[in-house]
């Protein structure tokens, strides 16, 4: 604490500052320690009176503004003092003078940033102290200003590729939309409807970029992004804006936009040039590009709408397969809204016990008996009724809900199966996503068996080929561990994947489920039958049972039987039924033996 004498000014003229026209009595001169404290401040200070004559100058101000020592004695006008600075230009001295005069005249504090030569910046604040004394305080802010300027510069460009940043890209669109159609000088009479200039936003996402980054490292990934940026630039016109929004997301603004045919050609050209091979750090790299396109004004009137709709179109392109492009269509928006609504409900459905299992019987064709049931997940939505699994399973997989949901199915199916009168098998579908953590999956199966008391041999898990296509090793290890618990393993949807035959040799599956597409009646029954026979023969040679699903007619059943399938399931026998009807189905079916109902 500084020992300020009460009723005294905080700053007192140390030097004789000339006549004080107020005529008020001068307070005693402050001690040397106060002066030292003022000199030690970060800010440069000068106090002055109404006529801008100096009362006090701290030494920080002299050093900061490099004031000629001959003038810095503290005598004279503020203007003289400033003019003795080697740092301030004449213009800046004028600004200081105006600020101080302004504070005196208006009796309100003034604040101004001074831009001195050599890109130095000072913040000046002028305010009244007590009656008729004022203080100007100078702080150098060059460092902050430089940092701010750099931040602004950084916001403009992506440092890696030199392309526009997201912020600046957004600005470019906003500016175009604001000054576009309304302010277009057409020279037409006002009655003529304006012909809005069209702008196209293309959202470009790289396919397989992540795997490049993961396998070859970030430095190669960064090198690749730079090459992508250059290839994109090479197909655009000089004035089209190109941005890296972040990661492997790029966006471009084609303005004015040509008609859709030309945009279509441009998009093809981009997917072509991005899909060509790259040499990065001596590595040969192949990636692809998916593109979503939204055009102003028909696909969105605002920047936000345009970007969102280009993104929706991009999702559509990605869903169609890699390296392709989609134009925005209004139904994409409706679909996205519907999806968001269902996603919100889906997250709550497990806790609200809205899921239930339905069971479809599997019939052995030789024994004419129900030998098992497939558990099929159903979602009973309070307002929408039964929601199709085709609608919610992919969504559950996408939002990561499939793992707890899959575990619920395992537990529930095992539990319910223990109440049935016959020791039939219970087949449960396991999603490829559940195989991403194989330990968790194996533990979940073990828990479902021990909690329910169901013998392992009654549980059959159905997997699709895609599970084996990625990470085959941990998946095979997990399948063997399941087999160790007595659990049976079936290959689902057989015949739809690429490498079906080789997959069959990788694990001793208990059963092959022939995809329903081979069961359906088609013109080429002969071809279909040949495929079915080939699969059943292959199964028999490998010691695997074969089951055909989707059997709906007696004719189909005949074909399946002739094809050599060991069992079937389908509407011809029974649709999937709620658990309450399972007992009746088993009893009823057995009652009709040996003459089957079909």
């Amino acid at each position: 604490m500084l020992p300020y004498p009460s009723q005294s000014l905080p700053f007192q003229p140390v030097d004789d500052a000339g006549p004080d026209d107020s005529g008020e009595a001068r307070a005693p001169v402050a001690g040397l320690h106060l002066r030292a404290a003022l000199d030690g401040l970060e800010a440069g200070l000068v106090t002055f009176n109404r006529t801008l004559d100096i009362l006090f100058v701290n030494s920080r101000l002299r050093s900061m503004l490099e004031i000629d020592p001959a003038v810095a004695g503290g005598v004279g006008s503020l203007l003289m003092l400033m003019e003795a600075s080697a740092v301030l230009s004449t213009t800046v001295v004028q600004q200081v003078h105006e600020a101080c005069q302004g504070a005196v005249d208006t009796r309100t504090p003034q604040e101004v940033t001074l831009a001195a030569p050599g890109a130095r910046f000072f913040s000046l604040r002028v305010g009244g102290l007590v009656d008729r004394h004022w203080m100007a305080s100078f702080t150098e802010v060059t460092a902050q200003r430089t940092a701010e300027a750099q931040a602004v510069e950084r916001a403009k460009c992506d440092p890696l590729t030199g392309l526009l940043s997201r912020t600046l890209f957004h600005d470019r669109i906003s500016v175009l939309l604001d000054t576009g159609p309304d302010h277009e000088p057409t020279g037409q009479p006002a009655a003529d409807p304006p012909h809005p200039v069209r702008h196209a936003v293309m959202a470009v996402d790289l396919d397989r970029f992540k795997s490049v980054n993961d396998t070859l490292g970030h430095s190669t990934g960064d090198g690749l992004l730079c090459l992508v940026a250059r290839r994109l630039r090479s197909v655009l016109r000089q004035h089209d804006a190109l941005s890296r929004l972040g990661g492997d997301e790029f966006a471009l603004l084609v303005s004015p936009a040509p008609d859709r045919t030309v945009l279509d050609q441009l998009a093809r050209r981009i997917t072509d040039v991005i899909g060509r091979p790259y040499l990065v750090d001596g590595h040969l790299v192949n990636i692809g590009a998916s593109i979503g396109i939204a055009v102003f004004p028909e696909d969105g009137a605002t920047r936000v709408e345009l970007l969102r709709n280009a993104d929706l179109a991009l999702y559509d392109a990605k869903a169609m397969g890699r390296s392709t492009h989609s134009f925005f269509r209004p139904e994409m928006d409706a679909r996205a809204v519907a999806r968001r609504l269902i996603e919100i409900d889906l997250r709550k459905a497990l806790a609200l016990r809205q899921f239930e299992l339905h069971y479809q019987p599997q019939i052995d064709l030789e024994r004419h008996a129900i030998v098992g049931f497939e558990a099929l997940l159903r979602w009973r939505h309070p307002e929408r009724g039964m929601v199709s699994p085709a609608e919610f399973i992919p969504l559950a997989e996408e939002i990561g809900l499939i793992v707890p949901l899959g575990e619920w199915v395992l537990n529930q199916a095992c539990l319910e199966a223990t109440h049935w009168s016959e020791p039939v098998t219970i087949a449960v579908n396991v999603s490829p996503y559940q195989f991403e953590d194989t330990n968790r999956l194996v533990e979940a199966v073990g828990r479902a068996l021990s909690l329910s008391g169901l013998p392992g041999r009654r549980l059959e898990i159905e997997i699709t080929e895609s599970v084996l296509l990625r990470n085959a090793e941990p998946v095979l290890a997990a399948l063997h561990r399941l087999r160790g618990m007595g659990v049976r393993v079936a290959m689902d949807d057989f015949g739809t994947g690429y490498s079906s035959l080789s997959q069959l040799h990788s694990f001793p599956f208990d059963k092959i489920k022939i995809d329903r597409s081979f069961v359906k009646d088609r013109d080429d029954d002969v071809g279909q039958n040949a495929i079915i026979r080939a699969i059943t023969a292959l199964g028999a040679s490998l010691g695997m049972a074969t089951i055909a699903e989707g059997v709906e007619t007696a004719g189909q059943l005949e074909r399946i039987r002739d094809g050599g399938c060991t069992s079937v399931q389908g509407y011809l026998f029974s649709r999937p039924v709620p658990v309450a009807q399972v007992a009746g189905l088993i009893a009823g079916y057995n009652q009709f033996q040996p003459t089957p109902a079909y």
Partner: protein
């Protein structure tokens, strides 16, 4: 001097028009690539056969990468398949900024029966064949250029 690097690719011709237009274009491509390559220390050979290009580029890695990038951005060809790429001990075309061989009948003719179109379709093999062929016929290229 960075280590020598080589890339061999083939691609399908997309230059529209009559054989004369195509050979004119190829002449332009060659002139341009010889100029760039001489500047950058890149050597190699270009083959036109069966409606397809095959090219060998060799030199310092950065220069080969840069030349390869320029070529990727060219719309006059497509369906590019890299047959082989990697470091090499020595240049195969040390004296050629860009050797060339091609058939007079640019549409369908094949140089030495080389079915580049099949190579492109099956996306397999061909690197050594292209390399060997280019090296064996490189001497005749100037004659061919003069004849068109």
């Amino acid at each position: 001097m960075s280590e020598l690097y080589q890339v061999i690719y083939c691609s399908r011709n997309r230059i529209p028009g009559a054989p004369d237009t195509v050979s004119e274009n190829i002449g332009g491509i060659l002139a341009r690539s010889r100029e760039n390559n001489a500047r950058d220390g890149v050597t190699g050979g270009l083959l036109f056969s069966d409606g397809c290009f095959a090219q060998v580029l060799e030199g310092p890695m950065e220069a080969v990468t840069a030349a390869f990038e320029r070529i990727q951005c060219d719309e006059r060809h497509g369906e590019i398949v890299v047959l082989q790429s990697g470091p090499i001990a020595e240049r195969h075309f040390a004296d050629w900024s860009m050797a060339f061989t091609g058939t007079r009948a640019l549409g369908a003719g094949k140089v030495a029966g080389l079915g580049l179109s099949d190579t492109l379709t099956t996306r397999s093999g061909g690197g050594d064949t292209v390399l060997g062929l280019l090296r064996s016929v490189v001497v005749r290229e100037t004659e061919w250029l003069e004849s068109v």
